[in-house]
């Protein structure tokens, strides 16, 4: 079965600084990969996804993520964070062709300091 690990429970970053959130997955092949963001009291919003092709994917709000097959990783990055980026970030994986379930990591809570 697939699994997702987000090793950082909580990250604090200064506004304007760069950000990288880590995500590692376990799956027998290349899965579909996603990053979702959850603001306080809100549902989940899709930031970006990787299905195939270019391993560097661009998402909304200036986020990008890079799929590295050799490291089984899909880390999320942003060159300069804004106070509005404070939220919970979830990495998720799904098996090929969407036949399997969406499995979420435990999440990383991002705090932005002025």
């Amino acid at each position: 079965a697939q699994s997702v690990t987000q090793p950082d429970i909580h990250i604090t970053v200064s506004e304007g600084a760069s950000l990288e959130l880590r995500c590692n997955y376990s799956y027998g092949a290349t899965p579909y990969l996603f990053w979702y963001v959850q603001s306080p009291g809100q549902g989940l919003q899709l930031l970006l996804k990787y299905f195939s092709g270019d391993t560097l994917v661009q998402g909304i709000k200036g986020f990008e993520a890079e799929f590295k097959r050799s490291q089984s990783s899909f880390n999320l990055r942003k060159p300069s964070v804004h106070w509005s980026d404070a939220a919970e970030y979830f990495c998720a994986v799904e098996g090929l062709f969407g036949n399997e379930k969406l499995t979420f990591g435990t999440g990383t809570r991002l705090t932005i300091i002025p």
């Binding site: 809100q42 989940l44 899709l46």
Partner: protein, 114 residues
């Protein structure tokens, strides 16, 4: 992607009672799912809501406790039955279209059982 309207957005309920959560999608979707997010935790899949047939439940979740209906391709309900304080969570519904599309989420229902 499609938009899911979920209601209620929050509720406080007495133990032993039941609450039904509704999700309405603004377009037909192939699959709908129900998740639970316990305080400070990630999302756990409760079940897949199948149109016109019984839902498919994940390990640890049973129909008597979480009956689900999906009468058509745009609507689903989840009932949390005979509630206890341990059922206090955020409940989210999710939908997705065909293969190779991402899942999208409702805003969630924050349930508190007292």
């Amino acid at each position: 992607s499609a938009v899911i309207s979920q209601k209620p957005s929050r509720d406080i309920c007495q133990r032993g009672t039941s609450l039904t959560i509704q999700c309405q999608v603004d377009s037909q979707v192939t699959m709908m799912f129900w998740y639970r997010q316990q305080p400070g935790q990630s999302l756990t899949l409760i079940a897949t809501a199948n149109q016109g047939s019984e839902a498919t439940y994940e390990s640890g979740f049973v129909i008597d406790k979480f009956p689900i209906s999906r009468p058509n391709l745009t609507f689903s309900t989840l009932t949390v039955s005979n509630m206890s304080p341990e059922d206090s969570s955020i409940y989210l519904c999710s939908g997705r279209g065909d293969l190779n599309t991402e899942a999208f989420f409702g805003q969630g229902t924050r349930l508190t059982v007292v």
